[in-house]
Symmetry: C2
């Protein structure tokens, strides 16, 4: 084992992201000692049972006392409380980062509570699945994915470089941007898609004319794709909506305008307009596959044949 990047790493929050970090740190020897903290006793016990770290505590303050790197992986609405707790206990030179899906709000919440003697750099690994909890993590989650850091002006360049090296060691490629731009980008590529997915699943659930069992049986014709995103962690996504409000409202407004125009084309039978839009969007898919951000195997290459056998008997 080569020298680890950090002596002591503390993970606050041990859900999908936190537990994936614990696993990749162990797998690649990125720290000598890992302390795990979470406010939920059952979650802490689950982390212990999974042997995710070396020390376990319910106290965030205690957890950071020796830490060289603190990674906060909690719903963004909890960021300020965590920063307030850990601020006074941080070691000189410690780096504090997070993994939240909104960045301007996290910077506003956390930065003021981190002392001058430590370094705060907000971050966001663009990686995840629809699952949550310490059992759902895996060491390869960050491999080949992007990680965005949003340091504010004046942040110590050496601290940024060390955090960048950490994410690269996890398998990610690191980009820097300012928090506001991050929030605008994520509003369209992530927040709007999740909100739309939650919304359409809700609409389907409310129908009186089509039964729920029909929605489920015939979901492979399109609907099922949306249900994956709509199965994501409700607390995390509630907080994203509350903490990236302006960018989300802006994207929702644009989406609704476009949808009204598309609806008009359906109502008035404007086939050319429909055809033009439906053709233009194919190009984006091609670009995403070419950029290595999705598979080009049909239906995402998912294998449901074995489970599908049940269809015949239900």
């Amino acid at each position: 084992m080569t020298d680890p990047l950090f002596e002591n790493v503390t993970l606050i929050g041990i859900g999908l992201i936190g537990s994936s970090l614990a696993r990749v740190i162990r797998a690649k020897g990125l720290a000598r000692h890992v302390t795990i903290a979470t406010r939920s006793a059952p979650t802490l016990e689950a982390a212990r049972a999974l042997d995710l770290g070396h020390a376990y505590t319910l106290s965030n303050a205690e957890a950071v006392a020796d830490a060289d790197l603190v990674i906060v992986s909690v719903p963004v609405g909890a960021s300020e409380a965590v920063a307030r707790e850990i601020g006074p206990h941080l070691k000189r030179g410690a780096i504090v980062t997070d993994v939240g899906s909104t960045k301007a709000s996290v910077v506003r919440q956390m930065q003021p509570h981190i002392p001058e003697t430590a370094h705060f750099i907000a971050g966001h690994p663009i990686a995840g699945t629809e699952q949550s909890g310490p059992e759902s993590g895996f060491a390869e989650l960050f491999e080949g994915r992007w990680c965005i850091l949003t340091p504010t002006p004046g942040t110590d360049a050496d601290a940024i470089a060390r955090l960048k090296a950490f994410w690269e060691a996890c398998g990610s490629t690191v980009e820097e941007m300012d928090p506001e731009h991050h929030d605008l980008v994520l509003a369209i590529v992530s927040h709007l898609p999740h909100i739309i997915a939650y919304n359409i699943v809700g609409t389907a659930d409310d129908l009186e004319t089509v039964t729920k069992s029909e929605v489920i049986k015939y979901s492979a014709s399109g609907f099922r794709d949306f249900t994956r995103l709509a199965a994501s962690d409700p607390v995390m996504w509630r907080d994203v909506c509350l903490h990236n409000r302006d960018a989300i409202l802006e994207m929702l407004a644009r989406f609704s305008e476009d949808l009204a125009s598309l609806q008009r084309a359906v109502r008035w039978g404007d086939g050319d307009k429909l055809f033009d839009l439906f053709t233009r969007t194919r190009g984006i898919r091609r670009s995403i596959v070419e950029a290595g951000q999705d598979t080009d195997v049909p239906n995402f290459g998912r294998n449901v044949l074995k489970q599908d056998a049940k269809a015949g008997s239900s």
Copy 2:
């Protein structure tokens, strides 16, 4: 090989569905002779090169002369023209069916042109991928999937039974419903999801504040899921919109109402309302996985690790 279900099958249209039918018919010996017709000469040549049938023609009229079963797999807007062409040439007792995504319109378009001496039964296999063309088909496409038949009152029971046996031999489970109910069900499980996906991809494509390369780079955070549906065949989907107008407008109205209410919750910071919706939708996902209609492997089990390696070098 057991006795085939039909002596002569004619496939009109040889895209994803038609060519998958050709492949499963051959793989399972479901017909003695397969005739392939399409109005596009290059597509016909592609089908011949793939050795998908026994006879090839650009004339639909010629193609059906000896057919016991005719399966029309064309965009629904072309249904009437095809029915008009083949009607006068159908053999006594021939069964004519289709695979279109809307059914009331297809019945209206085709039924009047099929003579009393033949049997018309509209149908819709709930199977597909985002790809199109004769190269994209595969014999297992219908395995473990549902196929909906929408016979009108008075349809010959024996003809229905024979068509049902055919789809079962392709691996599907057959359900019957009336055309109008089919169109309502598919409007929510398939048509609305596709329209929403096309729309959101269009909205992203139009942004001035976020670059297209950012949309593509960070698409794994949600957006990429929508791009798969939005890469579907534009002609097919234009026709679906034009031919299931009323049910689609009804579902769009409901969706937009719900979205306006969700948008209000974001604007006013109504976290409880957001949390309630985001929790409710998880249950639907669970039901779909339990019904064997989707995989429960995270991220659909898609494997982009190899391609993702490119992310680091771009």
